[in-house]
């Protein structure tokens, strides 16, 4: 009484895969190959003159000390944003997972910021911390702190990190919460009966069981900080002061879109793409080993 259907059509599996393949080709491989091709060209903004220059754009790029600086900035920025947004979201999710009366309201409020566009989030934070008018900057200044993200590099970095973290917490929160709810209560109760306190239960039972979610979020967050944060940076600091918040992706945007240097910008995005591919590969190769499915 085995119930199985045999599809004899050899084309069918490919046909079923086709929509996804088309989307990947059109929205990833096609633009990526365009970027690679463009990185070998020198073009004016209008595309009137186009000249093949080989690796010249890359040579010019790696001759810029500012480029190495933006790499370092990216490392600092992405580590801070990924670490903070993951840990804060996890904290919030564990709190929301408890049996609270206001839990639904709390959850909804937590998810809201995700609906805010990056640029809007940037403007919001910019105004709250605008040195002389911002509602949060004034108390800071009142306490005697010389809050000045326009000139102080650390202040500017703090500001873009806060805005980017705030924006990402909702997303992480949602996944952590779902992850927490799928952990069988019986396992946790068994731990409790054996006398494990809440903190110990968290680190020895919940956290390992949550690792698939954490791993997934790590990958997504790294991609987020690498690619999706330029809107926030553009609105909050414009990459300043003195390039202190110019991450690699912001430099791609600034040089290409604002500067009209399409070849140089394309070369940067190719480098960025290689880095993110490498990072993701490393994560899957090494970090995933520690994941318990």
């Amino acid at each position: 009484m085995e119930k199985s259907t045999v599809f004899n059509n050899r084309l069918l599996p490919y046909l079923l895969l086709l929509p996804q393949l088309v989307i990947t080709v059109v929205f990833f491989y096609w633009p990526a190959s365009q970027a690679i091709w463009q990185s070998f060209l020198r073009e004016d903004a209008f595309g009137l003159v186009s000249e093949f220059v080989g690796l010249e754009n890359y040579q010019a790029l790696f001759a810029q000390p500012e480029y190495y600086r933006s790499m370092l900035t990216t490392v600092i920025f992405s580590t801070l944003v990924a670490a903070l947004s993951l840990s804060i979201a996890l904290l919030f999710a564990t709190q929301a997972d408890k049996n609270l009366k206001a839990a639904p309201a709390y959850k909804t409020l937590m998810i809201w910021p995700y609906a805010v566009a990056p640029a809007v989030a940037g403007v919001l934070w910019f105004f709250m911390f605008q040195p002389s008018l911002g509602m949060l900057a004034r108390p800071l200044r009142g306490m005697g702190l010389d809050w000045n993200p326009l000139l102080n590099e650390n202040h500017a970095m703090m500001l873009v990190v806060m805005a980017s973290v705030w924006k990402q917490i909702s997303y992480n929160f949602l996944f952590f919460l779902a992850g927490l709810q799928s952990i069988p209560k019986s396992v946790i109760e068994a731990g409790a009966i054996d006398g494990a306190r809440p903190v110990r239960r968290f680190w020895t039972i919940i956290f390992p069981l949550l690792s698939p979610t954490t791993f997934f979020l790590l990958v997504v967050n790294v991609v987020y900080v690498f690619f999706d944060t330029f809107g926030i940076i553009d609105a909050v600091t414009g990459g300043g002061p003195a390039g202190a918040t110019t991450t690699m992706v912001y430099k791609v945007y600034a040089d290409g879109r604002l500067g009209g240097d399409l070849g140089g910008s394309a070369a940067q995005s190719v480098v960025l793409m290689v880095i993110v591919i490498a990072l993701t590969a490393i994560q899957f190769r090494y970090v995933e080993r520690k994941v318990q499915y």
């Binding site: 020198r42 209008f46 009137l48 010019a60 326009l150 414009g238 300043g240 604002l258 500067g259 009209g260």
Partner: protein
């Protein structure tokens, strides 16, 4: 199947599109970046023009900020459907100019269309910015402004500053008095850091920003703004930043509100800030010419403009160009220009409109609006003060500001910062030169 249906459907759509007007009206697309009150002015101008004749219809559309509008226009050109008229901010001038074939020079347009056009009728300090070295006008100036020093008269009086400072040393003194009188966080400040402290500063002191008349005479220009005078000025700002007698106000206009809120009583920014100041400032304010160093021979020279001009895109039909030319003639009309200037605060672009405003007694009631005009026409422009034209200027302004910020934050000396700004800027210029040929 789908394709077979597409044919008739397209034909019907096309028929509907062409059938509606009683007779052929040529549409002229105008892409711009004007918001708020300025947006209303753009729409009103188009309406008036459309009502004044029945052959052409100017259709304005807002395309976002200045860089957004320019990028939208460039992308549209690459896709083969550029607008007829595109508003481009002054720093995009070199990029537009070098795009031979993508643009239709205005002097050519007016000649082809047989419209009366005398380049001498326009204010030379304004058109110089948008003309070739031979004086051929490439784009049509629309909204022009210049840097002025905004003054909070009430606060100056309170601080015991009896006269509006004219020179930089006087500004520094006044700022110290203001700081002592309670302006602890800001003696004076400015918006548009590189525009004010490098570009306008150089022109006003008749020193070069770059060789080849600041790039107007060719793209093989080199930057020169690391002279001892520039270093001295930046060093002064760095010294005053330490105790906030001067407080840096950023690369764009976002901190202009510090003047309106009363925090900064002396603030250098565009004359176009007038409308906002009028709306927000709850004190007696005025504008004054930019300060200068009295020990520099010949200073003050004349200021240069900011703002935007209208570029005509290439590859359109002669009939459409005729409409664009008629629209420009319409905009140049003396009464219209004078009215536009008096209502919006933009500079008038024709000499006649300026003279009419003087004759009308407009400036006696509104002296603030004459300050930029006095600056622009202060002296006959020299090689150093005709304007500037550097490729990839948007990118360049950012890296100049980066270096100014590095100096103000104490990371670099004033000299190191300006040297770096010059050498990094030159690298950008060389890249541009290679693509601009």
């Amino acid at each position: 199947m789908a394709f077979r249906q597409f044919g008739p459907a397209a034909a019907i759509t096309a028929a509907l599109a062409f059938a509606t007007p009683a007779h052929a009206v040529t549409e002229i697309q105008w892409w711009h970046a004007m918001t708020g009150g300025n947006n209303d002015i753009v729409n009103k101008l188009a309406e008036e023009f459309n009502a004044s004749q029945s052959d052409y219809k100017v259709v304005p559309s807002y395309k976002g900020s200045y860089p957004d509008t320019m990028n939208a226009g460039i992308a549209a050109f690459r896709a083969g459907n550029a607008p007829h008229i595109m508003q481009v901010f002054e720093v995009g001038t070199a990029t537009m100019m070098s795009a031979t074939g993508a643009i239709k020079p205005v002097y050519q347009l007016m000649k082809d269309a047989g419209e009366p056009f005398d380049p001498k009728a326009y204010l030379p300090t304004i058109t110089g910015y948008y003309s070739t070295s031979k004086g051929d006008m490439l784009s049509f100036p629309f909204n022009s402004s210049s840097t002025v020093m905004w003054i909070n008269k009430d606060e100056l009086k309170k601080a015991g500053v009896t006269e509006i400072p004219k020179t930089w040393p006087e500004v520094f003194e006044a700022a110290k008095k203001l700081k002592a009188a309670g302006h602890a966080t800001c003696g004076f400040s400015n918006a548009w850091a590189s525009w004010v402290h490098i570009e306008q500063f150089s022109a006003w002191h008749n020193v070069p920003i770059g060789t080849k008349a600041n790039g107007l005479d060719g793209f093989d220009t080199e930057l020169k703004f690391n002279s001892p005078l520039h270093v001295k000025h930046l060093q002064n700002l760095v010294d005053l930043q330490k105790d906030k007698t001067y407080d840096y106000g950023g690369r764009t206009s976002t901190n202009e509100a510090r003047f309106g809120s009363g925090e900064c009583a002396i603030f250098l920014t565009s004359s176009g800030y007038y409308a906002t100041a009028k709306g927000t400032a709850k004190f007696d304010f005025t504008s004054a010419p930019m300060p200068y160093y009295p020990d520099v021979a010949g200073a003050p020279q004349n200021s240069i403009i900011g703002g935007a001009s209208l570029w005509v895109m290439g590859g359109k039909k002669p009939e459409e160009y005729k409409g664009v030319a008629k629209f420009f003639t319409f905009l140049s009309d003396t009464n219209r220009q004078a009215k536009l200037h008096q209502e919006s605060g933009y500079l008038p672009i024709t000499k006649a409109a300026y003279e009419k405003s003087i004759k009308d007694g407009f400036y006696e009631k509104n002296p603030t609006l004459q300050t930029p005009l006095k600056e622009l026409t202060n002296k006959e422009p020299t090689e150093n003060s005709r304007g500037l034209r550097f490729g990839n200027m948007v990118q360049m302004r950012d890296l100049w500001s980066e270096e100014i910020e590095a100096a103000l934050a104490g990371k670099k000396s004033a000299k190191e910062a300006l040297d770096a700004a010059v050498s990094r800027g030159n690298a950008v210029l060389r890249t541009f030169e290679k693509t601009a040929k």
